[in-house]
C-alpha cells in the first residue's frame, strides 16, 4: 500500500492504494468518478481514455502510482458547471452515441486530437485515423466522426 496523490479535475486528491492499482480503478473506486469506463481491459477499446498532464492515455494501461503528482482530467472535468464542453455538445447535437459506453473515451480522445491538430486542420481522414484506439460497437463511427468535425469547427 502507498498513498497516491494527484490532481483530478482541478482538485487535489489522495488515496491509500495497492501499488498494482490501475489508474482507472483509482478513479472509479477510490474517487467514485465512474464516467471513465473499463471496456476491454486489454488496452484496445479506449473507453478508459483520460488526460494525464495534457495527453490522452488509456487509464487501464497505467498504474495510479505512475500518475502520482500528475494533473488528470476525466470526462467529469470537461463541462463548465451546466455548460457542456463543445465536444460534449457536438456529440449530443449529432447523435454521436447510441448506448454511450464508449462515449467518455471517444470524447476525451476527440478533445486531445482537436488540441493537437487545431480545429481548422482536422479533416475526416485524420479524425478516422486518430480514432484507431477507440472502439464503438453500436454506431459504426459515422456520427462520432460527424460530432468531432462539428466540435472542431466550433472550437476553431
Amino acid at each position: 500500500m502507498a498513498t497516491v496523490s494527484m490532481t483530478v479535475n482541478g482538485k487535489e486528491v489522495s488515496a491509500d492504494v495497492e501499488d498494482r492499482t490501475l489508474l482507472v480503478h483509482y478513479l472509479r473506486e477510490n474517487l467514485h468518478l465512474t464516467g471513465t469506463h473499463v471496456g476491454c481491459d486489454t488496452s484496445q477499446c479506449g473507453a478508459c481514455v483520460v488526460h494525464v498532464d495534457g495527453k490522452a492515455v488509456k487509464s487501464c494501461t497505467m498504474l495510479a502510482a505512475q500518475a502520482a503528482g500528475s494533473d488528470v482530467t476525466t470526462i467529469e472535468g470537461l463541462a463548465n458547471g451546466g455548460d457542456l464542453h463543445p465536444v460534449q455538445a457536438a456529440f449530443k447535437e449529432n447523435h454521436g452515441l447510441q448506448c454511450g459506453f464508449c462515449t467518455p473515451g471517444m470524447i476525451m480522445t476527440a478533445v486531445d486530437m482537436i488540441n493537437r491538430h487545431g480545429g481548422k486542420n482536422l479533416d475526416e481522414a485524420t479524425i478516422r485515423a486518430e480514432l484507431e484506439g477507440n472502439l464503438c460497437r453500436c454506431t459504426g463511427y459515422h456520427n462520432i466522426v460527424r460530432s468531432i468535425e462539428a466540435a472542431a469547427k466550433a472550437m476553431g
Binding site: 502507498a2 495497492e18 501499488d19 498494482r20 490501475l22 481491459d41 486489454t42 488496452s43 479506449g46 481514455v49 495527453k55 490522452a56 492515455v57 488509456k58 487501464c60 494501461t61 497505467m62 498504474l63 502510482a65 505512475q66 502520482a68 480522445t109 486531445d112 486530437m113 486518430e130 484507431e132 484506439g133 477507440n134
Partner: protein, 266 residues
C-alpha cells in the same frame, strides 16, 4: 495483476540500485506492453522501477548527421520531432504508426527495443539504420543487440539510455498491420547510407524476431528500386506461422512491404 512494488527512479544510478535490491524487478518504460502483460498474469515482477522520469534519458537531438533518441522518448515525441523529420523522416513515420494515439503518448523507444517483440516496429529501424544502443554499461551495435524473440543482449540490471545512428541518405518503412491487433504481420525498413551501402531489416514475419535480408541489401545496393527489393527470394522456412497468416503468405508480404518501403524512401 499480481502484487508488485512501484518505484520511481530519478537517476540511472538509483534505478540500478533499486533493481539490485529487488527479488525479480523489471524496469518500467511507458508500460504499454508490460502493464497489459502483468494484467494477464503473464508477468509478475516483484518490483517495477519506473525510469521514465530520468530527465537525461529523454529527447531527440540531431547534431550534424548524428541522431540520438533518448530511451524514454515517447513514440508521439519521435513522430512529431521536426529535426528528426528532416534527418530521417522514416523514423517519424514509423513511430507515428505504432499502436494508437494513446499508446504513442506513453510508449517509449527504449521500452520497445528492450522488449524485442517479434512484431514491434522499432527493432526494424534500429537494425536497418545500424544504430548503436547506449546503455548504463556499454554501447551495443544493433547487429549484436537483438537475440531472438523477446531476447536481447541486455543484462538484468542494464538500462538502455539512448539509441544513436547516422542519418541515412534515404530510408523508408512499410508494414502490413494485422487487421485486429495492428501489430506488424510484416514490416520492412530499408536504409541507404551516405556511402551507398544498403541495410534491410524485417520485423513481424521472422520466427526468430527481427532479421536482415542480405539478398535485398545486395540487390538494392546495385539498383535502388522497388522491383529490385521485391524480386528477391524470401525463405518461408524462417517465417512465423499462425492463424493470421501461413509462412508462405508472410514471406510474400515481406517482398511486397520491401518494395513499398523503397517507394516511400524515394
Amino acid at each position: 495483476m499480481y502484487e508488485t512494488k512501484y518505484h520511481r527512479a530519478s537517476s540511472t544510478d538509483e534505478a540500478v540500485k533499486l533493481i539490485g535490491g529487488a527479488d525479480d524487478g523489471k524496469f518500467l518504460g511507458g508500460g504499454q506492453t508490460l502493464i497489459p502483460t502483468m494484467k494477464q498474469r503473464l508477468a509478475a515482477p516483484s518490483d517495477l522501477i519506473d525510469v521514465t522520469r530520468i530527465e537525461a534519458m529523454n529527447g531527440v537531438t540531431v547534431d550534424g548527421g548524428t541522431v540520438t533518441i533518448g530511451a524514454t522518448t515517447t513514440h508521439a515525441e519521435v513522430a512529431g520531432n521536426g529535426d528528426l523529420a528532416k534527418a530521417c523522416g522514416a523514423v517519424c513515420d514509423l513511430a507515428g504508426h505504432i499502436g494508437d494515439p494513446a499508446v504513442r503518448a506513453m510508449g517509449t523507444i527504449g521500452g520497445s527495443i528492450a522488449n524485442n517483440d517479434p512484431a514491434a516496429d522499432y527493432p526494424a529501424a534500429v537494425l536497418a539504420l545500424g544504430a548503436q544502443i547506449m546503455t548504463t554499461k556499454r554501447t551495443i551495435a544493433a547487429d549484436d543487440f537483438f537475440a531472438g524473440m523477446f531476447e536481447t543482449a541486455l543484462e538484468e540490471d542494464e538500462i538502455i539510455t539512448a539509441v544513436t545512428f547516422t542519418a541515412p541518405a534515404k530510408a523508408g518503412y512499410a508494414k502490413f498491420p494485422n487487421p485486429a491487433s495492428r501489430y506488424a504481420m510484416a514490416g520492412v525498413f530499408v536504409a541507404q547510407a551516405g556511402d551507398g551501402s544498403v541495410r534491410v531489416a524485417v520485423t513481424g514475419a521472422g520466427s526468430d524476431g527481427v532479421f536482415r535480408h542480405e539478398g535485398m541489401e545486395a540487390a538494392l545496393a546495385g539498383d535502388w528500386s522497388a522491383a529490385a527489393a521485391s524480386g528477391q527470394d524470401v525463405d518461408a522456412g524462417g517465417m512465423l506461422e499462425d492463424i493470421h497468416a501461413p509462412a508462405d503468405y508472410r514471406a510474400n508480404l515481406v517482398k511486397v512491404m520491401a518494395g513499398r518501403a523503397v517507394e516511400k524512401a524515394g
